[in-house]
Subunit: 88 residues, 4 copies
DNA sequence: CGGCGCTACGTCCGTC
DNA sequence: GACGGACGTAGCGCCG
């Protein structure tokens, strides 16, 4: 089947359109994601232009993220303990 | 120095604020990126709910991206040839 | 070419033997890894047999690992700062 | 309760020690596993250094593993048939 | 069989 | 400019 062309089999076309829709939605999102990642790079580049060490900046961001993740895990663990104690 | 607290050394504070600004801009972008990736996952989930095979869908997206990259390579090469020939 | 069989082309055989050597070394290591993972499972099973909640145990292990990673990152960051300040 | 410190409640301490024992056994195993995975990486790196394509090598290992699994299935099935026939 | 965690892959950055 | 290393993301398998 050639997508986008008129088809004899209506059902197949409909399915094809649906598929195409999903694919294109994902592709659009991936474009947005790429744009955002590009923005990040530009921020780092700007910081670098002002004398900051990009490697350090990245590490700071990473550590802060890990700290947040840690905190969430801790809370999840606490919840687990509590529910385990409540037994049910 | 504790960021966010008043400081005696103005220069250091300014630098700290600037640093903080970069960090937070990046973190904001990372949040947006995470949100977009989440959207993608939801699209795939929706497609899955309609009977599509997510793994295959991902492959399709990947292949189409490679095709696009290939095409851009071709065009870049073409441009190179043309400029080498003195066109434009 | 059938590996392991005598070959007319010596070079090819040598390459085949070398390849085979790499593959088998990796496979040996994977066996060891599988054995170790099996040991882990047994430890968890034993703990479970004594009334411990495996899910919680796993989470504890994970958090402790993250804590360790965090600490190492912190130290790495400190080193970065120090070297950045020392600016050789 | 602070693990490792003397405690008034013997039962709790014993349980804590037991728990600590499980955790540390698992952590030790995870270290060993990490070491082995590192060894694998080194083997692949060595192979790469001799011109082999690591990705392909990994595929070979994976396929051989699947083959072995298949073969075991076959043998298990054969055993089943034989015992069903009253052999052995 | 659905979710979660782990492993493996691709990409990007720094280095030589 | 290429290589190697590190990070983040995607695929896979196990567990529940």
């Amino acid at each position: 089947m050639a997508d986008g062309s008129p088809a004899i089999d209506g059902a197949t076309t409909v399915a094809g359109d649906r598929l195409r829709s999903f694919i294109e939605r994902v592709e659009r999102l991936e474009e947005e994601k790429a744009a955002i990642m590009n923005d990040s790079k530009e921020v780092y580049a700007e910081a670098k232009g002002e004398g900051y060490d990009v490697k350090i900046l990245r590490q700071v961001v990473r550590i802060r993220k890990m700290d947040r993740a840690d905190r969430q895990e801790q809370e999840a663990l606490l919840d687990l303990y509590l529910s385990a104690l409540g037994e049910q």
